[in-house]
C-alpha cells in the first residue's frame, strides 16, 4: 500500500526546488500559501516512514525523502511554522538509525546530524555566528531576544505607517505590509509575534484596502478559534497559543466576517460542550469571548452574532442551553452598551432593526431597573404588545409569521423578563396569574403548531396549580408530586413545567428540608438535571445583576446547583 502517491511526490518536489531558501518575495508567498497542504503531505510521509522497519527500507521505498526533507530544512518559512517543524523533525528522527547496519544508514545518520546542526546554529565565520557565540546567553535566549527586538522594530514601522492613514479611502502606501503579513502567516502561533500581528490587523482596519495577505488572515482566525476552544474546553494539551490584544481581535473580526462567524460559533460550541463548567459561570465566559464588548462598539458585529444565534435557534428549537447563552449574551451586551459614552451610542433601534419598535423599551429595560412592585404591570404591558403582534399572525402570511418570530426572538434575548414572570408566579394570586402564564407559554411555545396553543395554556395552568399545592402544603401531598412528575416527563410542555418548578424551588418560602425532599423526588433523571442546570444558569445571571441581593435565594440556588452537579 502506497502511503504517498507519485503525483503528490512530483508536485511537492517541484515546489520545494522552486522555493529554494525562500529568499524572493514570490517564493515566500507561495510557501506560505501552501503551508497547510504541505503539513498534510508531511503527515502522510511521516506515517509512511513510521511503518518502515529500517532506514534502508525507507530510502528504498521513498527515494525522494532525503532531498525533500533536506530542502525543507533550508526554508525558514517552513521551519518557522511550529507544526511543520515538528513534523519535519519527526521524519528525520524516523530516518535516524541508532544502530546503522550498512553504509546507506551511516550516511543517512551523518546527513541528519548535519541538518540538525544547521537548524540550531549559524554558519561559522559569519557575523551572526560570532555575535551569538560571545553574547553571554544561550542561543535560545539570544534568538528569543532578537525575535522580540525585530518584532518591536517592525511593529513600530507598521504603527508609523498607520498614523498617516486617517481615512479609509487613502491608498496604502506601504507595500511592505503585504510582504510582512505573508511572513507572519507562518508565525501566528509564535507568542512573541502578537504585537506585530496586532499592529498589522489595526493597520488593515485603517487602510481600508486589502493589503494583508489572505493566508495570514486565515491563519490568524484559525489560531484564534483554536484558542477559544482551548480556553473554554480547558484543554491546553494541543493548544497553540495566540495571544492578541483585545483591540486586535476585534479588528480581525471587522476585517474578516468568516472569522467573526467562527468566533460566534466557537462560543456556542464551547458552551454546549461543557455544561458543568458553563452553567456555573456563563456570564464570565461570554464576557471573556470579547463578543459583547465588540458588539457594543460595532453594530454590525452584534447583528451578525444575533443572526447566527437566531438561525441556530430555529434549527434546535427547544434547546435551553442555547437560550441561556442568548439571554446572557444580550445582558452582557446591554451592560457594555450602557458603559459607552452617550455621544457614541447608537439608538437601540439600530441593534434590533427587524422587530416592532414599540417592543424595545419594555423588553430592553432590565428588571433590576424597574421597582419590584411594578413588575407585574410591566409584564402585562409586554404581554399586550406581544399579543398585538400575534393578532396579525392570523392571516398566516409569511410577513406576519416573521413578525411573530422576531418578537419571540427578542423575548428570548430578554429572557430575564420571562424568568421574572416565573418568579412572580411562585407567590402570585390566582387572579394575577393569567398574563404571567401567557408569557411563559408563549416563550416556550411561540408557534401555534398543530393549533396546540389552548392545550399548552391549559397545561401551564395545571402545572402551576399543582406546584402551588405542592410547595404551599405541608407535608407535600403525594398526589401533586406525582402530577408534577407526570407533567415533567410528558414531552409537550416539559421545559415549561421544569422552568416553573425550579422557580418554585428557589423562590418559595417553605423550609429548606421540605424543598430538598421535593427536589430529590422530582429531579431524578440525568437529562432533566442537565436541563435544570441551564435554567438555573439564567436565573443566576439575572440575580447577579439584581438591585438587591437576597441571601436566602442565593443559597437556595447554590445548594440546588451543587446537588444537581453531584450525581
Amino acid at each position: 500500500m502506497e502511503a504517498v502517491s507519485e503525483t503528490d511526490v512530483q508536485f511537492w518536489m517541484a515546489k520545494v526546488v522552486n522555493w529554494g531558501e525562500a529568499t524572493s518575495c514570490s517564493a515566500l508567498l507561495d510557501t506560505s500559501r501552501h503551508l497547510g497542504s504541505l503539513r498534510s503531505f508531511l503527515q502522510q510521509v511521516l506515517q509512511g516512514l513510521q511503518q518502515m522497519s529500517s532506514t534502508s527500507e525507507a530510502m528504498k521505498t521513498f527515494p525522494f525523502v532525503g532531498q525533500f526533507l533536506g530542502r525543507l530544512c533550508w526554508n525558514p518559512c517552513v521551519i518557522a511554522d511550529e507544526r511543520s517543524q515538528r513534523l519535519l523533525l519527526r521524519c528525520l528522527s524516523c530516518l535516524y538509525s541508532a544502530e546503522p547496519l550498512n553504509a546507506v544508514e551511516q550516511k543517512a545518520n551523518m546527513w541528519i546530524k548535519n541538518m540538525l546542526c544547521h537548524l540550531i546554529s549559524e554558519e561559522e565565520g559569519s557575523v551572526a555566528h560570532a555575535t551569538v557565540k560571545h553574547a553571554g546567553l544561550t542561543p535560545k535566549r539570544y534568538h528569543s531576544e532578537a525575535l522580540q527586538k525585530v518584532v518591536s522594530l517592525m511593529t513600530e514601522e507598521v504603527i508609523k505607517s498607520c498614523n498617516g492613514l486617517p481615512n479609509t479611502s487613502a491608498r496604502c502606501s506601504n507595500g511592505n505590509i503585504y510582504v510582512m503579513s505573508t511572513a507572519c502567516a507562518a508565525l501566528v502561533t509564535c507568542p512573541q509575534m502578537s504585537p506585530l500581528i496586532g499592529a498589522l490587523l489595526k493597520h488593515s482596519m485603517l487602510c481600508g484596502t486589502s493589503c494583508l495577505n489572505q493566508e495570514f488572515i486565515k491563519e490568524v482566525s484559525e489560531a484564534l478559534i483554536r484558542l477559544y476552544l482551548c480556553v473554554f474546553c480547558l484543554s491546553l494539551l494541543h493548544s497553540k497559543r495566540l495571544v492578541l490584544e483585545d483591540e486586535a481581535v476585534v479588528n480581525l473580526w471587522c476585517y474578516s466576517p468568516s472569522c467573526l462567524e467562527g468566533a460566534a460559533v466557537s462560543l456556542l460550541e464551547s458552551v454546549l460542550s461543557d455544561h458543568e463548567t458553563m452553567t456555573q459561570s456563563l456570564d464570565k465566559h461570554v464576557n471573556d469571548s470579547l463578543l459583547p464588548q465588540a458588539s457594543a462598539d460595532h453594530c454590525h458585529i452584534f447583528l451578525t452574532v444575533s443572526e447566527i444565534y437566531r438561525n441556530v435557534l430555529t434549527e434546535i428549537d427547544e434547546n435551553l442551553a442555547v437560550r441561556a447563552l442568548i439571554q446572557v449574551f444580550t445582558v452582557c451586551f446591554l451592560q457594555r452598551l450602557t458603559g459607552q459614552k452617550t455621544q457614541d451610542r447608537l439608538p437601540l433601534r439600530a441593534f434590533f432593526p427587524h422587530v416592532m419598535p414599540s417592543l424595545l423599551p419594555p423588553l430592553l429595560t432590565a428588571p433590576s431597573e424597574v421597582p419590584r412592585e411594578a413588575w407585574l404591570d410591566h409584564l402585562i404591558w409586554i404581554r399586550s404588545l406581544l399579543q398585538s403582534v400575534m393578532e396579525n399572525e392570523a392571516g398566516e402570511d409569511v410577513r406576519a409569521y416573521q413578525a411573530v418570530f422576531q418578537a419571540w426572538f427578542l423575548l428570548v434575548q430578554c429572557g430575564y423578563w420571562v424568568d421574572t414572570a416565573a418568579e412572580l408566579l411562585v407567590l402570585a394570586a390566582p387572579e394575577n396569574a393569567e398574563p404571567l402564564l401567557w408569557l411563559l407559554t408563549f416563550f416556550h411555545h411561540p408557534t401555534n403548531r398543530g393549533h396546540q396553543r389552548s392545550q399548552q395554556t391549559a397545561e401551564a395552568r395545571e402545572a402551576w396549580t399543582h406546584l402551588r399545592m405542592l410547595f404551599l402544603t405541608r407535608p407535600p401531598p403525594p398526589r401533586h408530586l406525582s402530577a408534577v412528575k407526570e407533567l415533567l416527563s410528558s414531552s409537550l410542555s416539559a421545559n415549561l413545567v421544569l422552568h416553573l418548578f425550579l422557580n418554585f424551588t428557589v423562590f418559595s418560602h417553605g423550609p429548606v428540608s421540605i424543598i430538598n425532599e421535593i427536589n430529590d423526588k422530582v429531579l431524578t433523571e440525568a437529562a432533566v438535571k442537565r436541563r435544570a442546570l441551564w435554567i438555573l444558569a439564567s436565573i443566576r445571571c439575572r440575580l447577579n445583576s439584581a438591585a438587591t441581593r437576597d441571601d436566602r435565594v442565593h443559597s437556595r440556588l447554590r445548594t440546588l446547583q451543587d446537588t444537581l452537579l453531584q450525581t
Binding site: 525558514p76 546554529s121 553571554g136 542561543p139 532578537a146 527586538k149 511592505n176 509564535c190
Partner: protein, 337 residues
C-alpha cells in the same frame, strides 16, 4: 573556589574529549552527566560574568587548562570565558559534528517531539522557531529603513550594545569587554563589512542618548585596532556616518579625524588637474567630498559645525583660494560653501 576551578577544568576536558574519538566510549549515562556539568558551567558564567575578581580567576584557570589540553589533544579548540554561557550548546554541536560520537547518543539529545515534554532540557523547538522566525522577518524587511542599516544588523547591534552596557556598568570589566569585541572580530573574519554594520548599530543603540558609555568604549576599541576605524567609516554609507555623528560627539570627532586622514592620502596631479590617491586606500576626491556633502545636508548643529571645521582647516593650511594647492580649499570650492 577550589571546587569551582576543579569543575571548570572537568568541563573543559569533557568538551575536549567530545571532539576526539574517545567519545565513542560514551554511553547514555555519560552523555547526560556531561550535559549536567555543562549546565552547571552555564550557571557559573551567568553568576560571575560581571564580577571581575572571580572571573579573572576563572579565566586564568581556563587559560591554563586550554594550554594543557592543546598539547595533549591538538585538534580541540580553546574555550573562552564568554563561550561558557553556551556550554550545553557547544557540547551538542561537538557531538553532532564528531563522526566518532556513538549513534545511540543522538536520539537522547533529540527526543521525539511528540513524546518529549515541552520544556525538556533537550527541546530545541523554541530555539529553531525563534531563529527561523528571526531570519524570516529580517528577510521581509529588506528596505533599509533604520538609518540605512538592515534590520538584522540593527537587532544584533542593539543586543551587542546591551551586552556591553551590562558588562561595563560594573567597574573593572573594561578588559573583559575588550576581549569580547576582539573575539567577535576574530570570529567574523570572513565578513568584516557585516560586522561594521553591527558595530554601527551598537553605536546607535543606547535608547537613552545621554548614555555614552557604550559608544565611547566602542570608539576607543576601534581606535586601538590599527585601521579599523577607517575601514568602518569606509564601509558604512555617508548617510549612516552622518546619523551616528549627530548622535555622538565623540564619533563625530573621530569621523572627522578619519576624513582628514583620507584627505592626507590625496595628492594633486598637476597634469590631470585632479586630486588622486597616493596610497592603497581607495579613497578618491569624490568620495571625500560626498562625505562632507552628506554632513552638510544634515541640518543644525552638525551642518554649522562641519562648515566651521572646513573653514578652519582651510585657514590653518594657508588660507589659499586657488585650486590645486590645499585640498580643503578645493573641497570647499567643490561643495560651493
Amino acid at each position: 573556589m577550589e571546587a569551582v576551578l576543579r569543575h571548570l577544568t572537568n568541563i573543559l576536558e569533557l568538551l575536549a574529549v567530545s571532539q576526539t574519538d574517545h567519545v565513542s566510549e560514551w554511553d547514555r549515562h555519560t552523555t547526560l552527566r556531561g550535559f549536567q556539568w555543562a549546565e552547571y558551567c552555564e550557571q557559573l558564567h551567568s553568576r560571575f560574568q560581571c564580577n571581575p575578581a572571580v572571573r579573572s580567576a576563572l579565566e586564568s584557570a581556563l587559560s591554563d587548562t586550554n594550554q594543557r589540553l592543546q598539547q595533549a589533544l591538538p585538534s580541540c579548540s580553546p574555550v573562552m570565558f564568554s563561550e561558557l554561557a553556551q556550554c550545553q550548546h557547544m557540547l551538542l554541536i561537538h557531538l553532532l559534528t564528531n563522526p566518532s560520537a556513538p549513534n545511540s547518543v543522538i536520539p537522547i539529545l533529540f527526543p521525539d517531539p511528540k513524546t518529549a515534554a515541552q520544556d525538556s532540557q533537550f527541546d530545541q523547538n523554541s530555539l529553531i522557531t525563534c531563529k527561523s522566525a528571526f531570519n524570516l522577518l529580517c528577510r521581509t524587511s529588506d528596505r533599509t529603513s533604520y538609518a540605512g542599516l538592515h534590520v538584522e544588523a540593527v537587532v544584533r547591534g542593539k543586543l551587542l550594545g546591551n551586552l556591553l552596557n551590562s558588562v561595563l556598568s560594573r567597574t573593572g570589566n573594561d578588559e573583559y569587554a575588550r576581549t569580547l569585541l576582539d573575539s567577535i572580530l576574530h570570529d567574523s573574519a570572513g565578513k568584516p563589512e557585516s560586522l561594521y554594520d553591527v558595530i554601527a548599530a551598537a553605536l546607535l543603540s543606547p535608547d537613552d542618548e545621554t548614555n555614552s558609555v557604550v559608544p565611547h568604549f566602542i570608539l576607543a576599541w576601534l581606535q586601538e585596532h590599527d585601521g579599523c576605524l577607517s575601514k568602518l567609516c569606509k564601509s558604512l554609507s555617508p548617510g549612516l556616518c552622518t546619523v551616528i555623528s549627530r548622535q555622538s560627539r565623540e564619533f563625530k570627532q573621530a569621523y572627522w579625524g578619519v576624513l582628514k586622514q583620507w584627505a592626507s592620502c590625496l595628492e594633486f596631479d598637476v597634469l590631470e588637474g585632479l586630486w588622486v590617491p597616493t596610497s592603497d586606500e581607495p579613497v578618491t576626491f569624490i568620495i571625500l567630498t560626498d562625505r562632507f556633502k552628506d554632513l552638510l545636508h544634515s541640518g543644525p548643529p552638525l551642518k554649522e559645525e562641519t562648515e566651521t571645521e572646513l573653514k578652519t582647516l582651510k585657514r590653518e593650511a594657508g588660507d589659499f583660494n586657488v585650486k590645486g594647492i590645499c585640498i580643503w580649499t578645493d573641497v570647499i570650492i567643490q561643495l560651493k560653501l
